[in-house]
Symmetry: C2
Subunit: 189 residues, 2 copies
């Protein structure tokens, strides 16, 4: 049924798009990108990542062990359902201009408090052990959002350490919001 | 490593808990329930459902075909990440007493508008084709939340039809919030 390259509808700044761009880069997949100046809701893009995992199993983004897979999914959902939807553009509009920053900081800090604790028992070099997983694809984009909303990351040493390791990887760099076709010149790096 | 029965920390009213209770009933699994008077964030409980699916594959909650699996996950994430986190207790507290109802109705309607359209191309008797899937485990609890927030369901005939079929199933009945050990007497049915 599949003809031609897959198409990714992407927005440079969207953390949801970035997650998928990392997965595509790790799977070494060729794709066309159509950029749209819009943000999208919540964690729907995890369905794309799970689909990629099932149809292109190498390199794996979910560990083989069911308990570790559950850890990866738990962390991914904490990030993609527990944090990201509360600080996305449509919600911030509803919250109103003057309350946006406080609202977003509160949503992210409260989620990161929980995450920092979970990572104590799951993390190795990355979120779950020493292999990059779907959880890491969700982490780096959310930390970038935290930076945008000026969240103090001092209370989250594990999150910060893992994020630093991730940003050293090629797949996270080529997919980064600062290097996309629709990135405005002033945000390029 | 597994000893004894699994334990579910459950709150009768939480849509996240209900999703998992349905999965446990469908998988015909014996478990202990510890009730906690708390609601939980977002879609983290999908990790439990995926874990159950991987360790107890029958009856399946994800279709065999990768595209249908992606549809199931897309709908599940739309419900569990795109809608539920925006109307959970901690967010409603932050929104403030006088705006809660409007806020919740807006979050649910906006998500249901998208869902009703997606279901046009995926639904059979249930959300994806004619077999109960993880998407249905997410749908029924969210429709119950919509009822609580007095959302008008007239614009969502497909959602309403599927929900009715689901509530006729034993697994959805035994796991229903109105029949849990911590359901207060006035909410029992």
């Amino acid at each position: 049924m599949q003809v031609g390259k897959p198409i990714l509808y992407s927005y440079f700044r969207s953390s949801c798009s970035w997650r998928v761009r990392i997965a595509l880069a790790l799977k070494n997949m060729d794709y066309e990108m159509i950029t749209i100046n819009l943000t999208k809701d919540g964690g729907q893009q995890l369905a794309i990542i799970e689909y990629l995992e099932e149809t292109r199993p190498t390199p794996r983004l979910l560990p083989q062990d069911p308990k570790k897979r559950a850890h990866v999914r738990m962390i991914s959902h904490l990030l993609a359902s527990g944090i990201q939807p509360l600080q996305n553009l449509s919600v911030l509009k509803q919250v109103g201009q003057e309350n946006q920053l406080t609202w977003a900081q509160q949503a992210i800090s409260s989620g990161f408090n929980a995450l920092e604790q979970i990572l104590q028992s799951t993390a190795g070099k990355y979120c779950v052990g020493d292999e990059v997983s779907m959880a890491d694809l969700c982490l780096a984009p959310q930390v970038a959002n935290a930076d945008r909303f000026k969240v103090d990351l001092t209370p989250y040493p594990t999150i910060s350490r893992i994020n630093k390791s991730l940003l050293a990887l090629e797949a996270f760099q080529v997919s980064h919001p600062c290097r996309q076709p629709d990135t405005p010149p002033e945000l390029r790096a």
